[in-house]
Amino acid sequence: MAFLDLNSINTYYGRSHILFDVSLSIEKGEVVSLIGRNGAGKSTTFRSIIGLTPPQTGEVIFKGERISGLRAFRICRKGVGFVPEDRRCFPDLTVRDNLEVAARREKEVDSPWTVDRIYALFPRLQEREKNLGSQLSGGEQQMLTIARTLMTNPEVLLLDEPSEGLAPLIVSLLADMILRIRKEGVTVLLAEQNLHFCAKVSDRAFVIDKGSVKFAGTMKELLANDEIKEKYLAV
């Protein structure tokens, strides 16, 4: 059994059917990419895993335990961290407070994240410690949301389009950070439109389109598969 398993989940917004029998499986310690265009169902997949938009059928299994059907905060407390695509720092809280409100599961992991460890990974955040979330630049906000989710000490991190809207320089910094996060023992599921970014950080990939999985394989296989790339990724 894999570390995180999605067994043919179907998710709806009201009466609109969004995800059709989506199945994914991720092993411990991997960085896996979920690639697809706008509206392909990447965010909905993440929202289904974290429990914000629970799937109506199918199940999500994390470490051998069914987590679908639990409420979002319970899923978070099981060790699933979610970084939304639109950043969403708490605007009225300082950078430090943004981190502190998220601190949890310190006893469940061997070396829990502390504010100091976070600052070592993201020195920029320390410089802006006393600034409010609303005063940060886009790149800083992205770092803060990732850092904030790390404070929940997740064992798997769901990163939703972290490179979106960031300058190329910041994007390559981000790739480094993802690899360092992985080194810390965190499994990462990365939703992206940017194939090259994924190629830098992940070993395996799923391609999703119109709410169903069209491809599953290694990154190498995907890069070699022109048909899939052309049809679903338009690269």
Binding site: Y13, F73, C76, D97, V101
Partner: protein, 643 residues
């Protein structure tokens, strides 16, 4: 003005501000986190005062008094916890208006329960001797108790600041208030936090009541006066903002004190004027920020899907006209009482359907419709009694004047949305109420206008229509209301109405399509105001006496009730609600003194069990049945609702 006078007045203003702050800080905290405008906050304040009253009957002396003051807020918190976990929690997924209504139902219930337990009379709470004296400050005599309150409130403000900004729980509370979903995904237990915040807000309300009890009197319903003042405070300060509550309290407290000295006649109107003035300059209050445009949540999407669902049935015209025919025949077999009751229902229906053009169709919750109703009624009343107008010209002018007033008020209100819109309409309504209530020379003040003579309506050369009998009035109102309702129905199903629905569903998208949203909202506000004014005009004709009560905000709550009872997303819903409400109201009043309690319980049950209203429920059932039939018979036009 000498120093002693100034000292006394400043401290009196500060005391007033202190009470206001205790209540409105809790109100704003609850709004900030739970996103609920808690109408029952005033009732919680009242309970705080009653608990002190009950406790001091047994506990005497300064120590007893102190224990009572401290224990009362905790008792209130306990009740609040029950309310939050037992009732409010069930409807967080519903639209804001249902939460508002649930807390309103609680006001009716708690007020009546207080009447049963403590009696209807005014209670005063004795202060211990230690606190009853007064001291001389700068030559002015100031009660010790006032000093105590004036010192205590800033201490509470400081404590609140510490809790919210320096403790982890406080930070979590602030984080949650800015982004609930994110907080949820970060492992914050929202249910527990909501209960905590609601109970804590109740402690503040209870403390306000406990401290105010000994200087103000306590009676059932005292909370209603307090809650409206607090609404004004938090709206001026900015909903959900603690500093706003503080500054707003000081402003209103001072203004009330100055008002009593300088313009005793219009003290009440003054605070509403200030609110209007602030909102004109800063629509979201002094410290407030515009509410974020809600992303399409799952709930909204679900509603949208329902709205565009192809399983839609139109009522055959014959079915629509049958009730009208039936109503024409009613006087043949029903007595005067029933005719009168039905006439009342017609007027109420018109008001409710016009109101729902705002709420159900456009998504604007107006809490000031009584103002237009009142303007219509007073137009007819004044024109008939003072200007010697004929019945028909006076009635025709009632929607015109109401529309003009709605045009002015609407100009300011449509700049806001959601709860802010509701609050501003409420304030304007109360402003008009305050003016009518006090302007004895023109409106008759609280005496109203009695003995309105309804002259026969000349009918060309063919005699006149005498409205003197109940039956004639019945037919007259039936025809006027029938025509108006048909007109409203056409407006709703016209392209104009479709645009209004688009604005309700997603105003952002509608504006991308080039719709001038504010203009549409203003227009529909004026149209609804006109029909409400006409309903008021009819009311003046049938009742022949009017009083300012019909402008009071509690009258504005009636069309809200009716619409919710009947169903918000249907055209006929509000009329069905009017039938239920008027009948319930008139029988309950006759049957029991506890009618508010029963009404509250009915409303509570409806909000919890039938959030779509009676007509919505019937429609849904019909839809399900029809849907099943279609599945079985594979009707050719059964398209799937999903794409």
């Amino acid at each position: 003005m000498d120093l002693s006078f100034l000292t006394v007045q400043v401290l009196s203003a500060l005391r007033q501000a202190a009470f206001l702050f205790l209540i409105s800080s809790g109100l704003t905290l609850i709004f900030g986190v739970l996103n609920i405008l808690n109408f029952a906050h005033g009732a919680l304040y009242m309970l705080g005062a009653y608990f002190v009253y009950a406790l001091t009957l047994h506990l005497t002396g300064p120590a007893g008094f102190l224990i009572a003051i401290l224990a009362a807020p905790l008792g209130v918190a306990l009740i609040a916890t029950v309310i939050e976990t037992g009732l409010l929690r069930r409807i967080y997924m519903q639209e804001e208006i249902y939460q508002l209504l649930l807390t309103y139902a609680l006001v009716l219930i708690i007020d009546d329960l207080a009447k049963i337990v403590f009696g209807p009379e005014f209670k005063s709470i004795p202060k211990p001797e230690m606190l009853s004296g007064s001291v001389t400050l700068f030559g002015g005599t100031v009660p010790v108790y006032t000093l105590l309150v004036v010192v205590l409130a800033p201490a509470v403000a400081l404590l609140l600041w510490y809790l919210l900004y320096k403790t982890k729980t406080g930070k979590v509370v602030r984080a949650t208030s800015s982004d609930r979903e994110m907080a949820d995904a970060l492992g914050i237990n929202m249910s527990a936090l909501f209960t905590l915040v609601f109970a804590f807000g109740a402690v503040l309300a209870g403390l306000g009541g406990a401290l105010a009890g000994p200087v103000r009197t306590v009676f059932p319903g005292v909370g209603t006066e307090v809650i409206i003042e607090s609404f004004v405070v938090v709206v001026i300060g900015g909903l959900g903002n603690l500093w706003g509550a503080l500054v707003g309290s000081i402003l209103i407290g001072s203004l009330e004190t100055i008002g009593i000295i300088v313009f005793p006649e219009f003290e009440m109107a003054l605070i509403y004027l200030l609110m209007v003035a602030v909102l004109v300059v800063r629509p979201w209050g002094l410290f407030g920020r515009p509410l974020k445009i809600k992303a399409l949540s799952e709930k909204n999407l679900a509603m949208e899907a329902q709205e565009i669902s192809p399983v839609h049935f139109t009522v055959h015209p014959a079915v629509r006209w049958a009730p009208l025919l039936l109503l024409l025949l009613v006087p043949l077999f029903a007595g005067r009482f029933y005719q009168y009751l039905l006439t009342q229902i017609f007027v109420a229906s018109l008001m409710a359907i016009a109101f729902n053009l705002l709420l159900g169709t456009t998504g604007l919750l107006s809490f000031g419709q009584a103002a237009f109703f009142g303007v219509g009624a007073y137009t007819v009343g004044l024109l008939l009694t003072k200007a010697g107008f004929g019945t028909l010209p006076a009635l025709v002018l009632s929607p015109v004047v109401a529309a003009a007033v709605a045009g002015i008020i609407g100009f300011f209100c449509v700049r806001l949305s959601g709860v802010h819109f509701a609050m501003l309409t409420l304030a304007f309504g109360q402003l008009i109420f305050a003016v009518v209530f006090k302007w004895y020379g023109f409106t008759g003040g609280d005496n109203g206008i009695q003995g309105i003579r309804v002259n026969p309506i000349p009918f060309g050369g063919m005699g006149a229509l005498d409205l003197g009998s109940t039956q004639a009035m019945y037919y007259f109102v039936l025809v006027v209301v029938g025509l108006s309702v048909e007109l409203l129905r056409r407006i709703r199903s016209s392209p104009f109405g479709a645009t209004l629905k688009a604005i309700r569903e997603n105003s952002q998208r509608a504006s991308f399509l080039g719709v001038n949203i504010k203009l549409y909202q203003w227009t529909v506000f004026v149209v609804a105001g006109a029909f409400t004014g006409l309903a008021g005009g009819l009311y003046a004709l049938m009742e022949k006496s009017i009083s300012p009560e019909i402008i009071h905000w509690s009258k504005s709550a009636e069309p809200v009730f009716m619409t919710i009872i009947g169903g918000i997303y249907t055209f006929a819903g509000p009329a069905v609600g009017a039938v239920v409400y008027v009948i319930l109201n008139s029988y309950l009043v006759a049957w029991t003194e506890k009618w508010a309690l029963v009404l509250g319980l009915v409303l509570l049950t409806l909000v919890l069990l039938l959030p779509g209203g009676v007509v919505g429920y019937v429609n849904e059932k019909a839809r399900q049945t029809l849907g099943k039939l279609r599945c079985i018979h594979k009707w050719p036009f059964s398209k799937s609702a999903t794409s």
